[in-house]
Amino acid sequence: MNLLSVSSPHLTRTGGTGDVMLLVILATLPGLTALTYFFGWGNLINVVWATTIAVASEALILKLRGRSLGFYLRDYSAVVTGVLLGLALPPFAPWWLTLVAVSFAIIIAKHLYGGLGNNLFNPAMIGYALVLIAFPVEMTSWIAPRSLASATGEIAPFVDTLNVIFPFHSTTTFDAMTMATPLDAFKHKGDLTAEQVWAAEAVLSAKSWMAWQFVSLGYLIGGAYLLYRKVFTWHAPISMLLTLALISAAFWLYAPNSFASPQLHLLGGATMLAAFFIITDPVTSATSVKGKLIYGGLIGLLIFMIRTWGNYPDAVAFSVLLMNFAAPFIDIYSQPRTYGHKIHK
């Protein structure tokens, strides 16, 4: 008689880590659609290219470490990293920029620590921060978006975009109209007041602002879907968004002309992407409910601080990394009260 003898429980729910990751990838679609609609094919190409590099890097490392390729690639975590970086990088980021960011993310930030589940920092954000510091020019030039109502001619055609990203065969230099993101524009406003900034570049800014709002909305929809599917809990994202909104509102009300409005903070940059796709990465975030609230809140605070007083227009990557670093410490001091224990032990 050869019966199975294992430790209880004998009943487990079906579905695995891979399914969770696939859901996350699925939830990026609204955001990606909005990006593609407003900024052209760039981000879509980036996503595909980044995912390819991510999977290839992951496979390379797994091979080197003698691990099972099929088993580990099927958790789709590399794909998630690739997709997120593809979304975060500017649409016309040259191919080598993506290559550097993604391979650094997967190889250094993820696999030096032992792969999925072991990494201390969010790989996508490490990749992003690296190229942001190393190649600031390439990283801050977003192209001008098209407006919601106008004809299709305003965005670059697919082939041209491809040529910009992979400038191998074509000698034609495609002259894309680059412009700053709303946050960027606000950052470099100099002594102008907020109103003057918007007035100076009225047309572009309005368009850009509109586009970013839609992209943020796309991420918000994806995030809501993930929340509905219980991929993560509400604590970290809501804590982050609320903190950011409250602090920025307080400063904005105090001096509307020198501080960005809460709206700009919430919808103008990568805030929504961060709230629902970056800080909800369970591996690198704090793990208890209390911990997640602290973690999210502090990220919100850091984003505001760095955006307002720092050198970088958007601060998501740095804030997330700083809090990734603090997460193990937060974990140690944010245990929930266990059944039968007094509130303070």
Partner: protein, 545 residues
């Protein structure tokens, strides 16, 4: 009755599969040829066998006595001959055997002398306690804690609430459900006795709550009707609680019904509560009102490897094989055999393992219904386990600490408050056998603690010995000095020729004795070596060294 129910943290909703075994009424299992009665069927000290091989015993006869306070008695479930007292398979995850009394039944099922039925209202509580102890009752819910101990709370704790655990939250198990449906009167009367026993003289009667998950409406209704018939509405209330695993955990049920929490490291009596299993109440009723010791119980036989899953009234000690055959076991389909439910049960490998007092379910499952474990993926700290944990622990952290044997941290994260309910493993998307990690860590911690007390003890003994040796040496030294002084005195008095000192001759004697003994053993060894070569081989090898 409408009560303000609380909720406990976490919990899961696994598929119930209870209707498998509720289709037919409780049947009485046939008496097997052979009964295996482990001496350890309960928490506490092992019982002490009172019979020996070849004895003839009658049904209900005491065959093993309680040894110590926390222990239970054991009775012959049927009449027959004691075949042997030996090690045999017991329902334990290790597959190790334990010492058992084996009875060959004579199929007459002849009762011996029964105990006198008692009228619980007329006799003293101590009398009732004695009866429950004599009847060998240990909790029938799974843990098997001796009931007489539980019903005798220390004087410091005033019991205000009696909770009858009829939640039966584990999937598949329906033993309590069927018991309530079919024998509700015994249930209620048993509860009455227990409530009576807990009521201190002159105090208010204890509040009596029967907690039933709302997936058993029939059972709850039957109980309510019986309560009404017996006019006990004011004393006993049947409370329907939401179906959620593990609402039947003692601590969780207490939290749902009363909102109180059993303090860390304490027992329910610390907050004025006694919790008893429903089956135990019936056993108490039988022991007190009928004078029958605990020799049978209701056990669910279920799982899709059985053609006719059902509830059986079985004699304690019945080997599972005969019950499975009775229910139409399809041997080919059988993949896992579990004693208990699918969440907390233990797998066994030997079909001759017996039913014991706490066996509420035997689950014969196919590989489709309980698939084999899949490969473990990396933990991504998703926290689903923390959401499911009824004790509000952080299973993901405990996993890392247990995995890397960082037991201090695991303890710091309250590993010992884990009730091993398995909710975390159930929800884990990475298929990590979390509970096994915790069991491993707890086992290691306990072993280390044991080692530590043992080493403390050894240290004391070592120091005591050192002290003794030092004293002996000092005494010897003192004596020697005295002797030499005396000798000097003698020398001064008269010059007597010196002769061998005592000690020298003594040691010579000793050496001679050893030599003689050595030779004796050698000759003996030569004889035995022919019989058992491996023994002599062993010592020969040592001699060569």
């Amino acid at each position: 009755m409408n009560r303000g129910l609380r909720d406990f943290h976490g919990g899961i909703h696994p598929p119930e599969n209870k209707d498998l075994s509720t289709q037919v009424a409780i049947e009485t299992a046939p008496i097997p040829d052979k009964l295996v009665l482990p001496l350890q069927q309960h928490v506490g000290q092992q019982s002490k066998a009172l019979v020996s091989e070849g004895d003839y015993v009658l049904k209900g006869q005491l065959i093993a006595a309680a040894e110590g306070y926390v222990s239970t008695a054991l009775h012959a479930p049927t009449s027959g001959v004691i075949a042997s007292i030996q090690n045999a398979s017991i329902p334990h995850p290790s597959g190790l055997s334990g010492s058992c009394i084996i009875i060959e039944s004579d199929r007459k099922d002849e009762w011996g002398k029964r105990l006198q039925p008692l009228d619980y209202e007329k006799v003293d509580v101590s009398e009732l306690l004695k009866r429950i102890r004599e009847a060998g009752i240990a909790g029938l819910g799974g843990a098997g804690f001796p009931t007489s101990v539980k019903l005798n709370p220390s004087a410091e704790n005033t019991i205000v609430t009696l909770i009858i655990n009829a939640a039966e939250c584990e999937p598949y198990i329906t033993a309590d459900d069927m018991l309530m449906r079919e024998r509700s009167e015994q249930v209620i009367k048993g509860i009455q006795i227990i409530a009576h026993m807990l009521k201190p003289v002159g105090c208010l009667p204890v509040e009596c709550l029967i907690g039933i998950e709302d997936n058993k409406p029939e059972a709850a209704e039957t109980l309510e009707q019986t309560v009404k018939q017996l006019h006990l509405e004011h004393e006993i209330s049947v409370v329907r609680i939401p179906t959620k695993y593990p609402s039947g955990g003692e601590k969780q049920l207490i939290q749902i019904l009363t909102g109180k929490e059993v303090p860390n490291g304490g027992i329910p009596a610390d907050v004025g509560i006694v919790c008893q299993n429903l089956g135990t109440a019936v056993a108490v009723y039988k022991a007190v009102a009928l004078g029958e010791p605990l020799i049978s119980r209701i056990t669910t036989l279920t799982g899709r490897a059985l053609e006719h899953p059902k509830n059986l009234e079985v004699l304690i000690g019945t080997p599972i094989r005969s019950l499975l055959n009775h229910c139409g076991l399809q041997q080919i389909k059988l993949n896992r055999l579990i004693i208990g439910g699918p969440m907390m049960g233990v797998t066994i490998n030997d079909l001759d393992t017996p039913i014991i007092k706490s066996t509420n379910c035997v689950l014969a499952s196919t590989s489709e219904e309980l698939p084999n474990p899949t490969p473990q993926q990396a933990c991504i700290r998703c926290g689903m386990c923390a959401e499911a944990c009824p004790a509000s622990l952080l299973p993901q952290q405990l996993y890392w600490y247990s995995k890397t044997k960082d037991f201090d941290k695991a303890l710091n994260h309250n590993l010992l408050d884990c009730i091993e309910c398995g909710a975390c493993t159930y929800v884990c998307p990475s298929h990590i056998p979390l509970v096994q990690y915790y069991r491993f860590a707890k086992g290691e911690i306990r072993a280390q603690e044991h080692d530590h007390t043992k080493s403390e003890h050894a240290k004391q003994r070592f120091e005591a010995r050192q002290h003794r040796l030092a004293e002996e040496a000092a005494q010897k030294e003192a004596k020697r000095r005295e002797r030499s002084k005396a000798a000097k005195l003698r020398q001064q008095k008269a010059t007597i020729p010196p002769h061998n000192s005592e000690s020298e001759s003594n040691s010579e004697d000793k050496a001679a004795v050893i030599q003689a003994a050595l030779e004796r053993v050698k000759s003996k060894k030569d004889k035995t070596s022919k019989l058992t070569p491996e023994v002599s081989n062993g010592s020969a090898a040592r001699e060569e060294e």
